[in-house]
């Protein structure tokens, strides 16, 4: 089985802080990581390969630094990696990103494409389903369990808002996966050696036969107009005194406000 995993290098948003004076993100010292949900996608692909045989290729679109995320995927067990990079891809929204990824995946003729459910920097969860649409294959979102896998079909559990569905699909297809699916492995020593030596394919728009007007800024219908820090309003009161006094006052206030 030929499996392609879409990954994204993201800043570890848990580490991102806001400079209260300027209202901007403090990026210094914030590590870049593979999007945590994509780690589960890689793990899922590796387990399928171990069971069924085949090949796992990791793909990402991003600046040249994103190569390190692909090397990490190889250290975990991926067989190959593709980096879509070039100025033409810059400024891509989810639509242009999906178009570029789908164009590249067509070249890799995948039986299955696996993505994390969303990236923690953008949190859109749109790229997976959009890639599936551009590839003309079905997709299943929020997969938490793979319950059956044949050569031409798959059965999974997908999370819904109030429970889960058991869904069956033909192959090829695309899955987006959630944390509950598996526990990602750590890289092996052998994997780390392989990652150092591995050749990362670098593809430009010409390599994926994608017209420039569908890529990057030109191919992106949405534009970020403004970025700002969320602010809070409303009345505020800091209660003072001993714990007993604070609790007394709190209860009084909450009764007054009809909260209790």
């Amino acid at each position: 089985m030929n499996i392609v995993v879409c990954i994204k290098q993201v800043p570890d948003t848990a580490e991102v802080r806001i400079n209260p004076e300027t209202g901007t993100l403090i990026r210094e010292g914030v590590p870049s990581i593979i999007n945590p949900y994509d780690m589960h996608a890689i793990e899922a692909a590796l387990r399928i390969k171990e069971e069924k045989g085949g090949k796992v290729t990791a793909i990402t679109m991003g600046p040249p630094q994103a190569e390190s995320a692909l090397r990490e995927a190889i250290s975990l067990g991926a067989d190959g990696a593709v980096l879509l990079t070039g100025r033409e891809f810059a400024g891509s929204d989810t639509l242009a990103t999906s178009f570029a990824l789908a164009s590249a995946i067509k070249k890799l003729s995948a039986d299955m494409v696996i993505c994390g459910k969303q990236a923690i920097d953008g949190d859109t969860s749109q790229v997976g389903p959009e890639v599936a649409e551009f590839l003309g294959i079905p997709h299943i979102s929020y997969v938490r369990k793979i319950t059956g896998l044949e050569d031409n079909s798959i059965k999974v559990e997908r999370m819904m808002d109030e429970g889960h569905d058991v869904v069956e699909s033909q192959m090829p297809l695309l899955l987006t996966v959630v944390r509950e699916l598996n526990e990602p492995r750590l890289p092996s020593l052998k994997g780390k050696m392989a990652a150092k030596k591995a050749e990362i394919k670098k593809w430009a728009p010409a390599d994926i036969e994608a017209p420039a007007e569908k890529l990057g800024f030109n191919g992106s219908p949405t534009q970020v107009k403004r970025i700002f820090t969320p602010e809070a309003g409303g009345e505020r009161k800091i209660l003072t005194g001993s714990p007993e006094e604070m609790v007394e006052e709190l209860i009084k206030e909450l009764i007054k406000k009809k909260c209790l």
Binding site: P129, V167, K225, E253
Partner: protein, 398 residues
Amino acid sequence: MPVRIDRDKCTACESCIGVCPYEAIVIKEGRALINEYCQMCSICLTVCPEGAIKEYEEEAKAGEMQDLSKYRGVWVFAEQRDGIIAPVSYELLGAGRRLADTLKVELSAVLLGGSEADALELIKWGADKVYFSDDPIFEKFNDEPYAELFSSLVNTHKPEVVLAGATAIGRSFLPRVAARLRSGLTADCTGLEIDGGTRNLIQTRPAYGGNIMASILCPRTRPQMATVRPKVMKKGEYGPARTGEVIRVEAGGLKSRTRVLESVRETSSHKINLQEADIIISGGRGLKNPEGFKLLEELAGLLNGAVGASRAAVDEGWIGYSHQVGQTGKTVCPKLYIACGISGAVQHLVGMQSSDHIVAINKNPEAPIFNVATYGLVGDLFEILPLLIKRLKEIKEK
């Protein structure tokens, strides 16, 4: 939009260098320069003390531009699950009505599955028209037939704005619609406004784990599509006498390569659904261990409330993900939200700051949670909570 630095204004102060997530700003020949690593994320735009960093609007290539004036009207995807209209649909009708009135156009709902009675109900909640199909293929949710019929309806009727709930269903099939129509989709919006002159929809959403908010436009194509977080928009006014038109649509020949074999409703181990609760008691890293949540459960039991958690507590494995409140968890809007040992990362705040009253209990007086708290208690929660529980019990007994 492409971002450039005005070399005449730049003083090489390096303020911009650290904020770039892509390490795309370098100092060259005594001035800052944005190199080819730039991903046009726009984060650097506000940091320059000299105002030297600017976006440059590039003209869209001729012929690419759609005739935007052919698109009129606001559409709402009315989600049903097992024949029950999802509450977010009424919230979307509230938001959609407001946008439609501003734009002076009709508000339509699209209902796939469900019954004609449901369709009539959507009119009372604000829709002028309801496009409705009760074809059995829509009983269970499969992305392909939903995307297929929805896209073809949009292609035929050309609405300028399309809204859906940011639910498991909305977030799964609407991206397929966007790819098919090649128009813009903004995920998980918390604010929607119309820019009067251009009729553009200003879509505001949290990004970077909720650390920042971004306003997003889709100026060159239509429809402008957005998914909207449940529990953020206010429901419209219910008008029992409102009238409108239900238009049945044919769904013949639709196919799905996925098939739902079984739908399982999971009743949460917790008695009260977090998003429906009037009172929520949430815990964070300050609880120190899973045992800490027992205190919160006791308090929740007394107040008939639900237990929530910050991402930190969930990541530590102290409580299940279904309790998580925040950008990557649930958005809640209870009457009373009690945050215990939660520092208040923006990721958490975006999920709860619209609560009517917020009580924060935290040791650290500098914790950002106090910036949104109606009542702040600086102190040890292991001291304060037992006292609070004791007093509430006494009051209850009276």
